[in-house]
Amino acid sequence: MTFTLLLTHDERPELSGPNTDYDPVEVTPLKSEEVEAARDAALAAIAGAADLDGLKQVRIDHTGDRSPLALANREIGALPPQARKEAGQRIGQARGAVNKALGERQAVLEVEHEERMLVEETVDVTLPTDRLPSGARHPITTGSELIADIFVAMGWEVAEGPVIEAEWLNFDALNLGADHPARTMQDTFWTEPAENAMVLRTHTSPVQARTMLTRTPPIYVVCPGRVFRTDEYDATHSPMFHQVEGLAIDEGISMAHLKGTLDHFATSMFGEGITTRFRPSYFPFTEPSAEVDLVCFVCRGAGELEGSPCRTCRGEGWIEWGGCGVVNPRVLTACGVDAERYTGFAFGMGIDRTLMFRHGLEDLRELFEGDVRFTTAFGTEL
């Protein structure tokens, strides 16, 4: 960095006119000792400049138009030609030394200045910076997306459907005829009037039915979504909750493919080594049917942690995760799939419940209270 001094015309000192009468040795400023003194004075002043402002003044004083060396330099022209060379050299050397010293001091002071500035500008970086509150997406949303992504990565697709659904799609098409005892297993919200044969869907299975009715196999879809049952609201029940169901229809599909898919799903959600087991169960829309349990990912199946029973699985080593089975051929027929050619599997589990044990939630209601302190803990992706 260089500082240039620009003096206006008015500020310039009056120049002495050529004075051919002078003997150079008679001209005081050009005397060797005078030049040296001016140089030494300048060097001393430079060395003594404490800061950039001081140095700026030193520069003006000792190299400016009115500085002794500048004035002396101007006198050179007044010398007889034979004396000019020597005087010029002498002054040139002196000015060179001064400029060099100025430059060096400038560099030193600039570094010092910057260091001081940086010290002075220190702030308390521990001050809060939360002027704008953070947003967050709901874990049910991001959890559904996480699950969808696991299946999309396998080549599946995500299917959706309406929550107010036709009775036929929610029940009959799924082998849950009006006289099926299992209908009473699902406490259903009916829309008014009940003769309209519409329900708040009790599971996302009607989405499976819709998919089969409107597409041709092979079909590999997951259906996450909200569902309703007339359950009273408490720590583990809610009239509205969320399910993800899966449906695969293809040639040669078996329970083994169901097991493979659920093992992969479990491992993706809960980590290596977390697999599933099947227990016989009953669902009208599948046959054979199974309940699917998950290796408890807290105690990793041991049933205990540091000598006491695992709280997550109540010492069982397994967690009940959902239901599944081979799609009942009656369902395939009702939904227009050739049951002779194709088989399929289906599964379903609660998203809320899955999140509850994945994230150690104690009370289902936390998910529906809308308390920002709860939701922001999950950020925008699970």
């Binding site: 947003g135 997406r137 969808a148 009715l213 409107t214 493979g260 169960s281 046959e287």
Partner: protein, 827 residues
């Protein structure tokens, strides 16, 4: 279904050393799911013995109570053989009674440690126990007094009290009705261990004869089999034997009277519901028929019921005496004076049972079995077992008459490919194994080449389909044998356009500082009143619920705002200084196009039928809504905070639209629940997406929110439909920008957006951007006017613009604004 292990073992010889945990694990693996094992004695340790009370001295106390200072013979259980001194507060016993004593060192349920202690001036060495103290029930009327012959003093009391019993509770699925009987549970236990099995329904029964009670069945579909037997001279005062009462208690049934207990016992044992009539009250021929319209019956629960022509009823000469298979009538009910019992063991049509139970809201143990399917062949055996127990424990005589009407339906054969179980389960099951497993569950199997035909056993009416057989084979082979194989679908198409866009919207809104909520969609009148909606507001036209959880909220919502407002109020109530919430969710609008059709299930509905069905459903668009209240930006060391306001809500709508590449039109509107002067209608083209702005002060008040909350609600489906699929990359010019500021004075009511639009259009293609940076009202622009200052930036993609070009564009912009809005350039 609950049963003690010992009762199960009456019908199956389990291998020695089988633990109850192992038994239940194997039964669970076979489909009879363990719910819980109840071991009453588990919570008791230490000496719990029988004692005979030798002396008891009542001692009144200062607190008004009287205690008894007793000495009790506990044999050698106390180590000395001396009588044990015990203070007892109960009075329901006398010297000589056999009681239950817990001695020092024992621990009772609730970690209640027993020690010898000084009390009421005596050293009480133990306790005489009540049922409640032992965890045997809630009965706290006094201590347990045992029958004199229950045992000897000093004898361990666990066995006597049934404390060593293990009661297993099963969760029986609807398809495994056989599991609602000891007969069925024991059969699966025998299957699990390949152990010897004794079928309690396999017994010699007398043949039907002419002396039997006259029975006529008019409806053989509804009641294929009706068996009647009779016991006379029965002692109604005869007690229920302790073992039987205990088994019933373990099964979760109360002991009522010997006759009733026996019918229940046989139902639990065989799965066949039995009805007992007081034979002296039954008049003439018993008849089974469907009810006729208008008939009524008072069932034995005292309820007077209007019957449907679908209901099966039992009648006699007096009229209706029972709702067949569901509940008996009051007039023929057995009582404490019944000495003659008419035993009915009938097989009823499962569907009829289900419908009647549902219609009359009767949920009974008998109904549960009848509607799920009972073995139709065991009516005679079950009735015979009842007769046997009645005469064994209640005296009396078996009437020689035996009535059997009808024949049990025969199970239909099911034919499958022999390799079907292997194909469906993915387990390597050879045909021979499949045959053996089907035979193991009771099927009669014949093999013909690659096909096998199975006739299900009479106790498995649930087996009707080929895949039912697959499940039977699978559960015998073991579900744990299913291998884990990932299917290999062909390439998928990934998320749909809408699915991707919805995620994008969610991230955008969360990125703008909003927190997502998930609310219940239930609303009612009060909800809409709180929103201040006028009586004819379309949002009040809802899809109603026939059976809402709360009569206050009997409908599915048409707007997301109520849920958000409630959540906002909850946050504020919990101390939040400000809250910004959003929700994406479906709302519902009725279409009133009649009921949804119910089609058959033997074929796919046609496309037209499906279209008709879809057409009846309510419209259920996805909405996006936000609510803000209170502090939006926090105050802090940087300075003042900022309250949320109308601009936040409208700004968010713009931000989302921009994210999707949609040009959003904002115009002034007036609509509840918004502030009439601070409400924007949001449009794309001429399609209204929704509204945003400050909420009406009444709404803020109704929900208890801080002043000036703001809200946005729009139809996200509509917005997403307009989203730009593939954004075109803009040409970004590197030439210098030319900036021009213009200040225009317009009437105060002129919309800034209108002025901006005119400027934009007038400026033409050279305009790169325009931004309103100041709004001024005051003396300098005169009353009723405002000055709008815009910063215009001009730039070309191919050259540096000349001053003349920029000036011309600027002038054209101002000229058009003047023409369109009357704007005058401010001097």
């Amino acid at each position: 279904m609950k049963a003690s292990r010992s009762w199960i073992e009456e019908y199956v010889d389990l291998p020695a050393g089988v633990t109850t945990d192992d038994l239940t694990a194997r039964l669970t693996a076979l489909g009879l799911k363990l719910e819980a094992i109840d071991r009453a004695g588990d919570a008791i340790t230490g000496p719990l013995v029988l004692g005979r009370v030798l002396t008891m001295e009542p001692e009144p106390q200062k607190n008004g109570k009287t205690i008894n200072w007793c000495t009790v013979d506990v044999g050698d259980a106390n180590g000395t053989g001396e009588p044990q001194g015990i203070v007892c507060g109960a009075h329901n016993f006398a010297p000589g009674d056999l009681v239950v004593c817990v001695l020092p060192g024992a621990v009772l349920p609730g970690d209640f440690a027993i020690s010898a202690r000084k009390t009421y001036g005596h050293l009480s060495a133990g306790m005489i126990c009540s049922a409640r103290e032992l965890g045997l029930g809630e009965d706290h009327d006094g201590i347990i007094v045992l029958p004199a012959d229950a045992g000897e003093p000093g004898q361990d009391a666990f066995g006597v009290l049934g404390l060593d019993a293990e009661v297993i509770e099963f969760e029986i699925n609807p398809d495994r009705a056989y599991g609602l009987s000891l007969r069925g549970i024991a059969r699966d236990a025998a299957l699990a261990y390949d152990a010897p099995y004794r079928d309690p329904a396999l017994r010699e029964t007398p043949a039907a004869n002419a002396e039997g009670w006259p029975v006529e069945v008019d409806d053989a579909v509804g009641c294929p089999v009706f068996v009647a037997r009779q016991v006379t001279g029965f002692d109604p005062a005869a007690p229920t034997p302790a073992w039987l009462a205990e088994r019933l208690q373990h099964a979760g049934m109360r002991s009522i009277s010997l006759a009733v207990d026996i019918t229940n016992y046989v139902m639990l044992e065989t799965g066949r519901p039995i009805h007992g009539y007081d034979a002296d009250k039954v008049q003439g021929t018993v008849r089974v028929r469907r009810a006729t319209e208008g008939e009524r019956l008072t069932t034995l629960d005292g309820t007077d019921r209007a019957l449907s022509p679908e209901d099966l009823v039992v009648t006699d000469d007096s009229g209706l005496i029972g709702l067949g298979g569901v509940m008996g009538g009051e007039t023929t009910e057995m009582s404490s004076t019944t000495t003659s019992v008419l035993v009915e063991a009938a097989h009823w049509d499962a569907t009829a049972m289900f419908r009647t139970g549902k219609r009359h809201k009767i949920s009974s143990e008998a109904g549960k079995r009848n509607e799920r399917g009972v073995d139709p062949t065991i009516c005679e055996a079950a009735a015979d077992r009842v007769v046997e127990l009645l005469t064994t424990y209640g005296g009396g005589t078996v009437h020689p008459g035996v009535t059997v009407v009808g024949t049990p339906p025969v199970p239909l054969a099911i034919a499958i490919d022999a390799d079907l179980p292997a194909r469906v389960t993915g387990i390597a099951i050879d045909p021979a194994t499949a045959v053996a497993d089907l035979e193991a569950v009771g099927c009669t199997v014949t093999v013909d080449g690659d096909r096998l035909t199975a006739v299900p056993p009479s106790w498995r009416p649930d087996l009707t389909d080929p895949f039912d057989l697959v499940e039977e084979v699978a559960r015998v082979v073991g579900y744990d044998q299913v291998p884990s194989v990932l299917p290999t679908p062909s390439a998928g198409r990934g998320l749909t356009r809408e699915q991707r866009l919805r995620r994008r919207v969610g991230r955008t809104v969360a990125g703008a500082g909003y927190v997502e909520v998930v609310s219940f969609p239930f609303v009612g009148e009060a909800t809409f009143n709180a929103l201040g909606l006028p009586a004819d507001d379309p949002l009040r036209h809802t899809v109603g619920l026939a059976n809402p959880l709360s009569s206050e909220e009997p409908a599915y919502t048409t707007t997301l705002l109520p849920g958000l407002l409630k959540a906002a109020a909850r946050n504020v109530g919990r101390g939040a200084a400000g809250v910004a919430l959003f929700e994406t969710g479906t709302v519902a609008f009725p279409v009133d196009r009649g009921p949804a059709p119910i089609y058959g299930v033997d074929r796919r509905p046609t496309d037209d039928e499906l279209a008709k069905l879809f057409d009846t459903l309510p419209e259920q668009p996805l909405h996006l809504a936000v609510v803000l209240a209170g502090e939006r930006e926090r105050a802090g060391w940087w300075g003042e905070g900022r309250e949320a306001g109308w601009a936040d809500a409208i700004g968010l709508a713009r931000r989302v639209a921009t994210e999707l590449g949609v040009e959003l039109v904002v115009e002034s509107a007036s609509r509840m629940p918004w502030h009439p002067g601070r409400c924007a209608r949001l449009l794309v083209g001429d399609e209204v997406l929704g509204h945003a702005g400050e909420l009406h002060p009444k709404v803020a008040k109704a929900y208890g929110l801080p002043p000036r909350p703001a809200a946005l609600e729009l139809d996200l489906d509509l917005l997403l439909r307009r989203a730009v699929d593939v954004a075109s990359g803009p040409v970004v010019s590197g030439y210098p920008v030319a900036k021009e500021d213009v200040a225009l004075v317009v009437p105060a009511a002129t919309a800034a957006a209108a002025v901006e639009a005119a400027l934009r259009e007038g400026a033409g293609a050279l305009l790169e951007s325009i931004r309103l940076f100041d709004v001024y009202t005051g003396e300098q622009v005169g009353d009723g006017h405002k000055s709008l200052a815009f910063a215009l930036r001009f730039r070309a993609t191919d050259r540096t613009l000349t001053d003349e070009e920029v000036g011309a564009a600027r002038d054209a912009a101002v000229a058009l604004a003047a023409e369109r809005t009357g704007a005058a350039q401010r001097a």
